[in-house]
């Protein structure tokens, strides 16, 4: 089984990379992009029986820095 973890900078934390992407899109003529936030996706290949709460513990301890990032876990 697999889990997919989405890690994003929290709202209110400046995301200069997202801002740079937004500027680039504007410069390319894509109007109407009001904001861009850039995050990451981490896929875990897990033993059968692993639970969502195991993955959440991994997020708390390593995969996300909860001072600046939020995460969500999707079991797939």
């Amino acid at each position: 089984m697999k889990a997919r973890v989405h890690v994003m900078l929290k709202n209110g934390v400046l995301d200069p990379q997202g801002e740079a992407v937004r500027h680039a899109l504007g410069a390319m003529g894509f109007d109407g992009v009001k904001g861009v936030r850039q995050g990451k996706v981490i896929e875990l290949d897990l033993d059968e029986g692993a639970s969502q709460s195991d993955v959440e513990t991994m997020c708390e301890k390593l995969l996300a820095n909860t001072v600046i990032e939020s995460y969500s876990v999707e079991m797939i």
């Binding site: 900078l9 934390v13 400046l14 200069p16 990379q17 740079a20 301890k61 390593l62 995969l63 820095n65 001072v67 600046i68």
Partner: protein, 222 residues
């Protein structure tokens, strides 16, 4: 003073930090990241700059969970001294020994230049060799040095006089111009600028020397 300098795969300021400690009179042991104990009698641990574990996942995140970092945290919890420079500061925030986090520079560029730092407090064994309020010139070299913490944390750092250094001209977007901070017991210091790169006449500046001398003076082994 017996100092240990931690060496991670990707550390590149470990020897510079060792040389600066030695120049101040310290005995230095280099400690590999896979070691599980610090050498006997170490009173100071230096976490050097560089790109530990290739900065994978987040700067300092993997290093913070390495075997030796559990020992470094235990050393700090016993009241031991720990100093993290640049990537070392990122490691110390990731371990939770210091609050906050270091984000990508606001201008997105890697910045490598000498900057002015205001000594925000002289009340620590790291900064007692400076006059509070004085300005020193120390190099920075980082891509992720933009200090971030929530507003309560920033207010607490100021109220407890735990901001060690502030940029005179903020190069990276750091909140409240913060370049370096102290732990509650003032024995853990994290800073983005590199005092070990301004500790010899050959470096083009020696404003970092006073930090290492003050530390060695405070940690004279009885």
């Amino acid at each position: 003073m017996h100092a240990a300098v931690i060496v991670f795969p990707g550390s590149n300021c470990d020897r510079d930090l060792a040389v600066a400690f030695e120049a101040a009179g310290a005995r230095v042991s280099m400690v590999w990241h896979k070691d599980t104990t610090l050498p006997e009698g170490v009173d100071m641990v230096g976490v050097p700059g560089g790109f530990s574990y290739g900065d994978y996942l987040r700067c300092g995140a993997i290093a913070a969970n390495s075997p030796i970092c559990r020992e470094v945290a235990a050393h700090a919890e016993r009241g031991g001294y720990v100093m993290g420079v640049c990537n070392g500061f990122q490691v110390l925030t990731e371990t939770g020994l210091l609050p906050g986090a270091l984000l990508r520079n606001a201008g997105l560029k890697y910045i490598c230049k000498t900057v002015g730092l205001k000594v925000a407090t002289a009340d620590s064994d790291y900064t007692s060799g400076y006059e509070a309020g004085s300005v020193i010139d120390i190099p920075i070299a980082h891509h992720d040095g933009n200090y971030f913490a929530d507003s309560e944390t920033i207010a607490r750092l100021h109220a407890e006089d735990r901001v060690a250094f502030k940029y005179t001209e903020n190069p990276n977007g750091a909140q409240a111009d913060i370049a370096g901070i102290l732990s509650e017991n003032r024995r853990v210091l994290g800073m983005m600028p590199h005092p070990e790169r301004a500790a010899d006449a050959g470096h083009g500046g020696t404003d970092g020397t006073a930090l290492f001398r003050a530390l060695a003076g405070a940690l004279v082994t009885a």
